[in-house]
């Protein structure tokens, strides 16, 4: 490889990728040749002329609707290798080689193209082959599969007895081909060949059915065509491999109604034969040109037509006909068959979207290699709202037969899609309905009726949160009778006539719900529509929306529902502060620091009746907690030159100011306060606020010195306050921009602490990670649901390459080239020690934010490398479980709880706390239980503390009651600090939100010091 040709790192990476993904044909060829010849042998050994009847697969034949399927067996006309193996473009881990078996003409009658007779015979023929292959010694097993999920066209997958470690899962797919079996004129698109397809007694054309047969008839020719284009053009082959990798990573386009390997190679070869590729282009360029073609070309509207090989030119009418019948047309050189006949318009739309988003990725500064080729985009991470319909044993699916022009499952897909589209309207950006109903363990002998076992999958991308959360959908005006009737028919009882503010009277649907359950509106709608129109029961509809919400519930509701009060109290409080007279320096600004004030706290404080200016005795009867968490608020004072020097003196002066403020509030406004030497807490409207003063003098220096020289004379306390205030305002802005940000951040925090990582990953760092998910969503869209956002957070944590890349969170898009260079330099400095010693790096997670380009704020000391790896391992496992839950598992709440239930066997010792002594017992997710290890000690619970105010306390005077209320008292924290004091060699793992377990591990690093 000459260095000149390699222009950037992306090309380097792509070359490496290709090297890894290509298959070594030298060693594979032997394997394939051996196996193919043994397959041929055993097929050739089948005696001719014995009678084949439907006995071999009776239910398949009857359910497909065919009759007169008996034939005398003849040996195949021949065999030929086709597919990606024959053009040497296989991409690992795919190790399946396609073998065409040419069906002999003698087995078929002239009219067998009618009424699925061809399909039935084709299947029976395979049954015979299978029976004989099974008895061969060189064959390990033979499985059934289907061609592009089309159940009426089964194929055989044969696994050899002899295996090579080099090619795991190597198999040969036996595909029957039907070259010139039938008269092609009879199969033209406008003809009806399935008699039962008729409307009012008039037979309707069966284009899909005809295409299905024609496809088999031209399999050989098309495979020859591909061979011709791909031989002698290495770059084209490489581009095909790249495209395959790209498509395989995107499950939403690599499906039966969209793209497959064959179609990709067809598109490539179309572009090649039409001279779209210069011979000098490299594989990546071809890749890009192809994507650009897919995303933007106008040719799709006219259809792609290969140059016809014979005289018969495609007439305009024929082209028009293809266009009318199929959303996408790729017509082969025979001019008779549209090879993209399975593609739906929704699938194609999806394909175009993916292609254009990939092109966007490739314009990223680092070339987007990771995003384009390495990121798995499966359904759970792609769609905001996933739904599974369990249709097993539902006769409605196949009420008019399994196979007509299209198969019943495809028709059902369409039906569900159009229903949802109508029901959701502009709430959904795109809706994808995919029913991958033929799977590995299907046997044709068991017929088509069993093909409804897999659930039907619906993926919905939300267009925008505002639209999705809308409570009223306005339909047609009442005067427009026809439309109104339609609307009523669709919505049934749900539609009501309403008069709107602008005087309009219109049909409408209203989805009433509480503020904090608005994300469930889409769920309500879907459930209503599906129940109404598909008559399914609620058990058959699994919607993945609110399954994680249990982790955020406090008592019986989401504590977010009271955060309106919280903000109000804060506003009043900050106004009070700014209006205080009688202190030497006036308060110039008040800023929130606590995450509750930006909606990202897992449990924002609940209003406490005791923490008020005036205690309302009527509200004192409930079970009241005896602890109240504080929320930090940052205060800035007017500038002054009279501040003392020295950190300690400054801090003391700050305390003095705070005490003065507190005194003032207490005496003038009657707002109760409490204070220690370091903290001053104010009770206001049921909440406790903790005041912090930032000293302005440090500020101007902080601004410039961030990242450069942290020592200077800025006190670290002021610096930290400054950073926190910057962080708070930025995150606050972000959560306003993305309404799902806050719940996702809360879920992420809950997850991290539930797995006892509270000591490793700061809450702010989690907020930044989640911010990254929202700010740099490519190659996906911005997440619009909790589960989706949470899954992406987990994947980010699991897959991000922390060792080699800094994570840059560019909140306001204000990083320029120089900033990036600075960050990169800082990052490289933190990785300097890596070459020598893999453990020797500072900040295992490098998080750069606009206020912190050197990752000093949150992740400089923890997590360390081993903690980060542990985190990643946990995240990977949780992400896998979550994806599985979205795709397959039944909706079992225990399974979902597993995501937050941490295994306690990964520690050297575990301490279980007395659950009734936790300050906020309702925050506990699950009571931890140990059923392993040895129980060595049991402690008696102290009587000194009770998490709830006792009835006796409630009877006391209000002043005493206020004293009883403990501000920011956390026994767990006290215990942790005691633990660390006495046993420095133990590393504790804990949950700061409210867990009852503490894991302990032997800390090797500390012990060396």
């Amino acid at each position: 490889m000459e260095i000149d040709t390699v222009t950037d790192s992306r090309t380097l990476k792509v070359n490496d990728l290709l090297k890894d993904i290509r298959i070594d044909y030298d060693s594979l060829t032997n394997l394939v040749d051996d196996f193919v010849s043994s397959i041929k042998e055993s097929i050739d050994a089948i005696p001719d002329d014995f009678k084949v009847t439907s006995e071999l697969a009776p239910s398949f034949v009857s359910e497909i609707g065919a009759d007169k399927v008996e034939f005398n067996f003849k040996k195949p006309n021949g065999f030929s290798l086709c597919g990606s193996y024959s053009i040497r473009c296989m991409a690992k881990p795919d190790a399946c080689v396609d073998l065409l078996v040419h069906l002999p003409k003698e087995c078929f009658y002239e009219k067998d193209y009618m009424n699925h007779r061809y399909h039935a015979k084709r299947c029976l023929y395979l049954c015979v082959i299978r029976k004989h292959l099974l008895s061969s010694s060189s064959v390990e097993k033979v499985e059934w599969s289907s061609l592009q999920n089309e159940a009426r066209k089964p194929v055989l997958v044969v696994f050899p007895a002899k295996k090579l470690d080099q090619f795991p899962g190597f198999s040969i797919r036996i595909i029957p081909s039907a070259t010139s079996l039938f008269n092609v004129a009879k199969l033209s698109m406008s003809r009806n060949n399935v008699r039962s397809v008729s409307a009012d007694g008039v037979p309707q054309p069966t284009p899909t059915y005809n295409s299905s047969i024609l496809e088999d008839m031209f399999l050989e020719e098309n495979s020859e065509l591909l061979k011709k284009t791909f031989s002698e053009w290495k770059e084209l082959g490489d581009a095909l491999i790249l495209l395959k990798i790209w498509a395989r990573q995107r499950s939403s386009i690599y499906t039966h109604d969209c793209l497959n390997g064959f179609l990709i190679s067809l598109i490539l070869s179309y572009l090649a034969t039409h001279g779209k590729f210069n011979k000098s282009l490299n594989a990546l360029d071809i890749f890009r040109v192809t994507l650009d073609f897919i995303a933007t070309s106008k040719l799709w509207e006219r259809g792609l037509f290969f140059p016809p090989q014979s005289e018969n030119r495609v007439s305009k009418e024929e082209k028009m006909q293809f266009r009318e019948l199929f959303p996408v047309v790729i017509c082969d050189p025979s001019t008779l068959v549209n090879l993209a006949f399975r593609m739906t318009s929704v699938g194609f739309q999806e394909l175009q979207d993916e292609a254009s988003s990939t092109l966007k990725c490739m314009k990223l500064r680092d070339g987007g290699f990771e995003e384009v080729f390495m990121t798995k985009i499966d359904y759970p991470v792609k769609y905001d709202h996933c739904v599974r319909l369990h249709l097993k044993g539902k006769p409605a699916v196949s009420v008019s037969g399994y196979c007509l022009d299209k198969e019943c499952w495809r028709i059902y897909e369409q039906k569900v899609h159009s229903l949802l589209q109508q029901g959701l309207g502009d709430r959904a950006k795109s809706i994808r309905v995919v029913w991958r109903n033929t799977n590995q363990d299907w046997h044709v002998e068991s017929g088509l009726s069993v093909l409804d076992r897999e659930p039907l999958f619906i993926g919905i991308s939300i267009s925008s949160i505002e639209k999705a959360f809308r409570t009223v959908d306005i339909g047609p005006d009442a005067e427009n009778k026809l439309e109104a009737l339609k609307f009523r028919r669709f919505w049934g009882n749900k539609s009501e006539l309403r008069r709107f503010k602008d005087g309009r009277i219109a049909e409408s649907t209203v989805w009433e719900t509480q503020q904090w359950t608005k994300h469930l509106i889409v769920k309500q709608i879907i459930e209503y529509i599906i129940k109404r129109h598909l008559s399914l029961s609620a058990d058959d509809i699994v919607q993945l929306v609110d399954q994680l919400d249990f982790s955020l519930i406090y008592g019986d509701k989401d504590p977010m529902s009271t955060s309106g009060n919280l903000l109000q109290a804060y506003e009043v409080f900050s106004k009070c502060l700014r209006e205080i007279e009688g202190i030497p320096l006036k308060v110039s600004s008040v800023q929130p620091l606590d995450s509750a004030l930006r909606f990202t706290s897992v449990f924002p404080p609940e209003p406490h009746p005791v923490a008020c200016e005036k205690i309302d005795a009527r509200r004192l009867h409930k079970l009241l907690p005896s602890c109240i968490p504080t929320m930090e608020v940052m205060i800035q004072l007017e500038g002054s030159g009279n501040w003392p020097i020295g950190d300690l003196a400054i801090e003391k002066t700050k305390s003095a100011f705070l005490l003065k403020i507190a005194e003032n509030l207490q005496n003038v406004e009657g707002i109760p306060c409490t204070a220690t030497e370091d903290n001053v807490d104010v009770f206001m409207g049921g909440y406790a606020f903790r005041m912090r003063i930032m000293h302005e003098r440090g500020l101007s220096l902080v601004k410039r010195d961030i990242g450069a020289d942290p020592v200077k004379q800025v006190s670290s306390i002021d610096k930290m306050l400054f950073i926190r205030s910057q962080h708070a305002s930025m995150i606050n802005g972000l959560q306003g921009l993305f309404p799902t940000y806050a719940p996702v951040a809360r879920l992420a925090k809950r997850w991290v602490s539930a797995h006892l990582f509270s000591g490793c990953l700061a809450e702010e760092a989690i907020e930044l990670l989640v911010a990254h998910v929202f700010l740099t969503p490519l190659p996906l869209g911005v997440p619009c649901s909790r589960i989706n956002g949470f899954l992406r957070f987990l994947r980010l944590l699991a897959d991000y390459d922390w060792m080699f890349y800094p994570l840059i969170v560019d909140i306001n898009n204000d990083f320029g080239r120089n900033d990036e260079k600075e960050i990169n330099d800082n990052f490289m400095a933190s990785r300097k020690g890596y070459e020598k010693d893999r453990q020797n790096i500072s900040s295992a997670m490098f998080l750069a934010a606009p206020y912190d380009k050197a990752s000093e704020a949150w992740t400089s000391t923890s997590p360390n490398l081993s903690e980060q790896k542990r985190l990643a391992a946990y995240a990977r496992s949780s992400a896998n479980v979550l994806s599985k839950l979205v795709l397959h598992e039944h909706n079992d709440s225990v399974q979902w709880e597993c995501l937050f239930r941490t295994p306690l066997n990964n520690y050297d010792a575990v301490v279980l706390l007395h659950r009734d002594k936790l300050p906020y017992p309702r925050r506990l997710l699950f009571p931890s239980e140990l059923n392993q290890g040895k129980h060595v000690a049991r402690g008696k619970a102290s009587t000194a503390f009770n998490p709830f105010l006792l009835p006796g306390d409630l009877k006391r005077s209000h002043e005493e009651l206020k004293k009883k209320l403990m501000v920011d008292f956390e026994p767990t924290k006290c215990f942790m600090s005691g633990l660390q004091e006495e046993f420095g060699t133990l590393k504790p793992w804990y949950d700061h939100i409210g867990g009852d377990a503490i894991g302990l591990t032997w800390n090797k690093h500390n012990s060396k010091v």
Partner: protein, 326 residues
């Protein structure tokens, strides 16, 4: 990996136990514990099953060994009694652990575990070496104990120190029960919840009291400053001259004592000005040919260095086998 480790350690435990018990009777605790540790270390080295990476492991073991010893001194000093007990409990403990390992483990947990272990990588061997040590920790930290256990234990320990012989007997009886009982700590306020609650109330003596404390501090502080100033002046008066210290860097424009700008220009304002000046140069970039050439050259250099960096990174990536999109 986990399995292997357990087996290894259990081997050590079993073979070492009779010796340990016999020595227990005769020798002083401190010495004995140390000896045992060394013995077990040797054992591990001998029993290390795979000869292929034997050398590597040994090397690491040696490292681990050092750590052990350094820790040991810490541990032995305060963990005399503990050592005894752990020995006795150890076999049981281990056997149990093995059972758990072989038993049906929750699938997810298992998965997690293996991944975590895999990630731990090289440190695992050290870990294995320390297993004998670890069991002590395990005992010391009491699986499934109450929150105050550690601390309670300490207080208990100090009381038992005096009558060691009796405590040993006690330990034996405890072993039957297996579960160590810890008091709630409500009686004495030196540890535990009671202490924390008391601390909490003590730290809130009321606004006036706090104000007084701060005032005291301030007067103290000022007095100290005054004193320092006086000292300085006295020193200066004594010799009749002062040492002029050369200040590195630019002249300060703010008086450090008062924070007031002394010079006519504020430092920050000045620097802002300078920065602004730099930005708006009289001639736009790329006006002169030399500028353009320079810019071009710089860009090429930057690109080259970036390219080199990328190459290095890819090599690292390749080493980490990152090019597998499946």
């Amino acid at each position: 990996m986990q399995r292997k480790k357990k087996e290894k350690t259990s081997n050590v435990e079993l073979s070492e136990l009779p010796q340990a018990i016999s020595s227990e009777k005769t020798k002083g605790k401190k010495v004995e514990l140390k000896k045992k540790m060394q013995k077990s270390k040797r054992k591990v080295e001998e029993t290390s099953s795979s000869p292929a990476d034997g050398k590597m492991q040994k090397k690491r073991k040696a490292k681990g060994g050092n750590v052990d010893i350094s820790e040991l001194s810490q541990i032995t000093s305060e963990e005399k009694i503990k050592g005894n007990k752990s020995k006795l409990n150890k076999t049981k403990n281990k056997r149990k652990a093995e059972e758990i390992n072989s038993g049906p483990v929750d699938h997810e947990d298992d998965h997690l575990k293996s991944e975590v272990d895999g990630d731990k990588g090289s440190s695992e061997d050290v870990n294995a070496d320390m297993a004998s040590n670890e069991t002590e920790t395990r005992n010391r930290n009491l699986k499934g104990k109450s929150k105050k256990s550690n601390k309670k234990r300490k207080t208990n320990r100090s009381s038992t120190k005096e009558n060691e012989t009796s405590s040993e007997k006690m330990n034996e009886t405890e072993e039957e029960k297996d579960v160590y009982q810890i008091s709630s700590g409500d009686e004495d306020c030196s540890k535990g919840m009671k202490k924390w609650v008391t601390d909490y109330y003590e730290s809130r003596p009321g606004l006036d009291e706090l104000q007084k404390r701060i005032d005291d501090f301030m007067t103290d502080h000022e007095e100290r400053l005054e004193q320092e100033r006086k000292d300085r002046e006295a020193k200066a008066a004594e010799g009749g001259w002062t040492v002029v210290v050369h200040h590195k860097g630019r002249k300060k424009t703010t008086d450090p004592e008062s924070g007031i700008a002394v010079g006519s220009v504020n430092q920050t304002a000045l620097e802002d000005q300078v920065a602004k000046k730099k930005q708006s140069e009289p001639v736009a970039h790329g006006f002169y040919r030399f500028q353009r050439r320079e810019a071009q050259r710089n860009e090429i250099l930057a690109l080259q260095s970036k390219f080199e960096q990328d190459k290095k990174r890819i090599q690292q990536l390749r080493a980490a086998r990152k090019f597998k999109p499946y």
